[in-house]
Amino acid sequence: MAMLTVNRLTKKFGGITALDGIDFSIEKGEVMGVIGPNGSGKTTLINCITGFIKATAGDIIFNGRNIRGMKPHKIVNLGICRTFQIMRPYSSLPAYKNLIIPLYGPRARKTGGWRGGGRHGDRNIIALDLLEEVGFERESKVPYKLAGTLPTGYLKRLELARCLALNPDLLICDEVFSGLSMSEIASMVPLIEKLNKSGVTIIMIEHRLKELFRVARRVMAISYGEKIVEGSPEEVMANEKVKEAYLGA
């Protein structure tokens, strides 16, 4: 049975239809990519799945349970974690203290959080471990700096670390690569691969297609809130409608 199934999901903002009957499903252990031009409704799709906005119609089935209309924190505690495209860290707190907050939550306490450490042991140490995992230099001052002063690359990692702290079953990344340099991306890709190997199902929204195709076996393309095609990366890129949507022809 599929881990997550989305049926005819529709979202209207007043007159605008941001999502128009999206269907897809994802199996456990899979990595799926979602692509589409800006404003096509990718972030809205995530917001609906994770409960941040209420879908107008449709169903979202996660592990056999309809989660549409549930509160965001409940959905997180079922195991769906997401990153934010617009990063707003807790800027008045040091970077590592940012992770205390997810570690404090019920999910981290129940599952033990990252590598089971959240149940026992010092949250500060776990936070530093986590930051090291996503590529903060542990011996440097960076983990102790105020999150508001960190550059984009570190913020994206911090955002990812926040999700890892929650020990997700399904991780949804909203454009984690955008705004990063080539070398930064190169160091993030293995991290994603490693996560997937450890059993986390991942949905990645991405504009950096080359890197996306390294990790995602299956890709869905949406445009103006409608799914236009789904399949292997090659199939999707060969599709006429995708080219049209991206080139705006």
Partner: protein, 337 residues
Amino acid sequence: MQTEKRKERIDRGIKIRSDGIYALSSWREITYLIAPRFLLIGGLLAAPLLLHFFPYWQKVLLIICIYALLSMAFDFLANYVGLVCLGGSFFVGVGGYGAALLNKYLLLSPLISIPLAALFGAAFCTLLLLPCLPLRGVYFAIITLMYPLMMTRIIEAFELFGGTNGMMDIQGFGNPWIEQYFLVVATLVFLFALRRLSVEDLGLVIRGIKDNDQSVRASGINITFIKAQAIFYASFLGCFAGAYLAHVYMWAGLSMFALDFSIIPIAATVVGGGGSLLGAVLGAILLVPLSEVLRAFGPLRIVVYSLILTVVIVIKGEGLLNYLSRKYHQFERWVEI
């Protein structure tokens, strides 16, 4: 030839080292760190003794503590949780009536009825504010402005608890020493407990809500529940102050929902400097005696406070405490260019 000079500011070495990690090597450094704390704690504890011969100023000290508690509640909600509460008097009134009821009908003595009133009052306030917790910014401010008014109108309309006359003949403290030390110690305890809370994990979550509530929700935390807890703490302080007042004045009435209890704490926090709780206390210590001086002028007091408040906000003042602590941690010297 004329040499130009400019002022140079340098952080004291100890300040840089002592941000979180303490490695002290001399009495001098230890004194440097604890002197300000000692001044506050020692000062407040000694005050009732020093003021022994000035009974009038003893009352002022009590009012300072009352407003310090209220200012701390406002500061905590505004600068840690991000909820600006314009109706602090709501807490005072609820606490006051609570203590009066406990004392009158259950015949509890002040030392028991005050903590109990604070507890039940805080639970009551939290319950009533629960529907407003999802609101943010302007909406929350407006709605809290309405709560004290709502309470007065309800009490008037239903003639509850003595209606417009209030409840009289509440038991007083009897012993002035207990009366004073009870409040002074409680104020200090609450101050340091709240400051402690703000660096604990729960405190971090609360501050996280102010920075970015969406991200807290995305971390699987029920922000309404956390906010309710924060409201509980703040209203506990407010209700404590109110309950105490009821026993000091031996009366609980509608004027406990009055504007003074809402606006003076805001002024104190803004003047003293928000975001540290200490600033709020400092503001109360500063503004309350001022209000005693102005007592003869009646409504003019509120006018003065409001104007001070407006001016400090408009010139974007950082608050007295932040200014003082900056000066304390820095050398200043003139250097030639």
